[in-house]
């Protein structure tokens, strides 16, 4: 009963100084909107990484040819070969698939347009191991590899690049450095993955790449898929041991290849994103606290302005608790109103940013609840001092106040 009255008095007081109240609320509005947006962005970024993690079948180790050392001098070598692939297949027990890759950049002609694209020679397992899905057509087969067929598979962005309708492309011809290839399939778009975008690549059988396009036996990269549940550290040691043996690297000398673990990399990236989003949310939280200080300031002004009213209310029988609660309600009303506006603004901002970043940035119920409770808490916390100042006013002194 009395609570309803106090709400009414608070509403009346806020309305009486509406512009001032709004300016004060602005701090809370911005703070809450920032918290909501930052949490949503953080969640979105993590979700994007999680999806990438999920899309990797098992754990994939990438072996790339790297620098070798000849008499202490670094020399570029291209020493990954079909023999390495065979040795890894034979000697590393935890391997479920091995996907060699050979990339070169070449001029590609489709219709009457020319583009310089990455041509990647690979084997049929490529799609499964790397989580690529077919949009149209078929994957490269073992038969294509065996017969060094001139067939090509396009990344999801390639048709866009040539401004050609993808449905019309299967069975068409494309020229790689003057050599004619048949288009057998198109991958679904995959989007950016760890700084590189493979959607503009063209894939061809590894043998075709070696003999007809690149003119080398060597491989640029070997993808080694490790069976799920196998300790990745052990797998790395095994792969390294086999390759060092194959490359005849003496003990103590450095590897002439690089080994990287994509899943581990993604997990690290995920950790970093988490920390970053906590940091951003923390900064947003600080702005919320600054907003709270603004509320406290305006409440102190209000208490001073209404000293006489407080004296009158006390003379008419208001207890200290009554006065305290009244001013707390006023401070909390300001914060909660600001919080609600902030939640709406934050929701709009996250949705806009989500569209911009191509992420899903869900505004979670938790974030909204936390922001709401937090802004009410800010009102309570920063309202307590002004309210207790009001409550402890001496009635006579308050009545005499000019």
């Amino acid at each position: 009963m009395m609570f309803v009255e106090m709400l009414r008095v608070a509403a009346q007081s806020i309305r009486a100084n509406f512009f001032r109240a709004f300016l004060t609320m602005l701090g809370i509005i911005i703070g809450v909107a920032a918290v909501i947006t930052m949490v949503a962005l953080g969640t979105g970024a993590q979700r994007a990484i999680n999806e990438q993690l999920d899309s990797l079948g098992g754990n994939v180790l990438s072996v790339r040819s790297g620098q070798g050392f000849h008499r202490g001098v670094a020399v570029q070598t291209d020493k990954l070969t079909a023999d390495d692939v065979a040795a890894l297949k034979r000697d590393v027990s935890s391997v479920t698939a091995i996907v060699p890759e050979l990339s070169v950049r070449r001029q590609v002609k489709l219709g009457n347009q020319n583009r310089s694209l990455n041509i990647v020679g690979t084997t049929p397992e490529f799609a499964d191991v790397n989580g690529f899905e077919m949009l149209y057509g078929r994957m490269i087969t073992q038969g294509d590899v065996g017969a060094k067929r001139r067939v090509a598979l396009l990344g999801g962005e390639v048709p866009v690049e040539f401004e050609i309708d993808p449905t019309q492309l299967i069975g068409q011809r494309l020229l790689i450095q003057g050599t004619s290839f048949e288009i057998i399939g198109i991958f679904e778009k995959k989007g950016s993955q760890m700084f590189d975008n493979q959607d503009k690549n063209v894939w061809i059988p590894i043998s075709t790449a070696q003999y007809r396009v690149a003119g080398t036996d060597n491989l640029g990269k070997i993808g080694v898929q490790i069976a799920p549940g196998i300790d990745i550290g052990q797998a790395i040691i095994d792969v390294e041991r086999v390759l060092r043996r194959e490359h005849k690297i003496i003990p103590g000398a450095r590897n002439d290849f690089n080994l990287s673990d994509r899943k581990q990399f993604l997990q690290m990236q995920q950790e970093a994103t988490k920390i970053f989003s906590y940091l951003l949310a923390g900064i947003a939280g600080i702005s919320l606290i600054v907003g709270g200080i603004g509320i406290m300031n305006i409440m102190l002004v209000t208490v001073t302005e209404r000293t006489r009213e407080i004296g009158i209310r006390k003379a008419m029988g208001a207890t200290r608790a009554n006065i305290m609660v009244q001013f707390l309600i006023e401070a909390m009303s300001l914060c909660i109103a600001g919080g609600i506006i902030g939640i709406i603004l934050g929701g709009v901002a996250s949705t806009l940013l989500a569209n911009l970043a191509g992420w899903q940035t869900p505004v979670s119920v938790t974030a909204v609840t936390v922001a709401f409770v937090f802004s009410a808490g800010v009102g309570l916390f920063f309202g307590i001092w002004p309210a207790s100042k009001a409550a402890s006013l001496d009635p006579i002194a308050a009545l005499r106040y000019e």
């Binding site: 003379a315 207890t319 200290r320 009635p395």
Partner: protein, 239 residues
């Protein structure tokens, strides 16, 4: 002596003994009240007079429970109120005391009805009950037609009537008025005084402070204060 009854065996509404209040301003101290003894019976009509600065307002604030004494005892309706805590004091201010100020002390943002309603909020009445009681109190002071007017839209006399309605709305034991006509012209002041006379006839106990003999003449008993003590007292006239 029994504190609950006086010589006549009647239970006094107010019993004050040896009451003192000292203000401290840095090094200097001002004894606003030295040693006041006062007993007031139900339905008395008492005027407190005295020169400026003699301690009249200080005494009224004590009686009205707005201030607490430094020395002495004060019984209100038999309850020792000179040493109570905030919430009990607030309750007694709300139920037992109706205060009328020289400067009206109305809330300017609220209309007459809401001003009069205010003490009832702290008494815990529901909205409907509050509004009907506030209406009735405004009627009592002849302002039923001004219920929706805000103080700034009213004359001084009307404002003081609203303040009196507010003081009466909780049906207090005592109506206290500190120079209620001090800010009014003599005609309006006379109106207010005839309202007080009416209320007293209806059974209300009234204590008022005034400088004017014509105002004091309405009361049945005059108490003169000089320098923080009671200099003369014409004695109780109980109806």
């Amino acid at each position: 002596m029994d504190q609950q009854t006086d010589q006549s065996g009647q239970k006094p509404l107010i019993r004050i003994e040896n009451l003192g209040r000292t203000y401290r301003l840095g090094e200097t101290t001002i004894d606003a009240l030295r040693s006041v003894d006062l007993t007031v019976q139900v339905n008395e009509y008492l005027a407190i007079m005295g020169p400026s600065g003699s301690g009249k307002t200080t005494l009224m604030n004590m009686i009205g429970l707005l201030d607490t004494p430094d020395r002495g005892e004060y019984w209100l309706n038999g309850e020792l109120v000179s040493e109570l805590g905030d919430s009990r004091l607030a309750k007694l201010r709300n139920r037992e005391i109706g205060f009328v100020f020289q400067t009206f002390n109305l809330l300017n943002r609220a209309n007459a009805l809401h001003n009069v309603e205010m003490p009832l909020i702290y008494a815990g009445f529901g909205r409907k009950e509050r509004l009907s009681r506030a209406d009735h109190a405004l009627e009592q002071v002849g302002l039923a037609d001004r219920a929706k007017h805000r103080p700034v839209e009213m004359s001084g006399g009307q404002r003081q009537r609203v303040a009196i309605a507010r003081a009466l709305v909780t049906q207090p034991s005592i109506l206290l008025a500190d120079e209620p006509t001090g800010n009014l012209d003599s005609a309006t002041g006379a109106d207010i005084m005839s309202l007080f006379d009416q209320l007293q006839k209806a059974g209300q106990t009234i204590i008022l402070v005034t400088h004017e003999a014509s105002v004091a003449a309405h009361a049945d008993r005059e108490v003169h204060i000089l320098d923080g003590t009671i200099a003369s007292d014409t004695g109780a006239v109980v109806h």
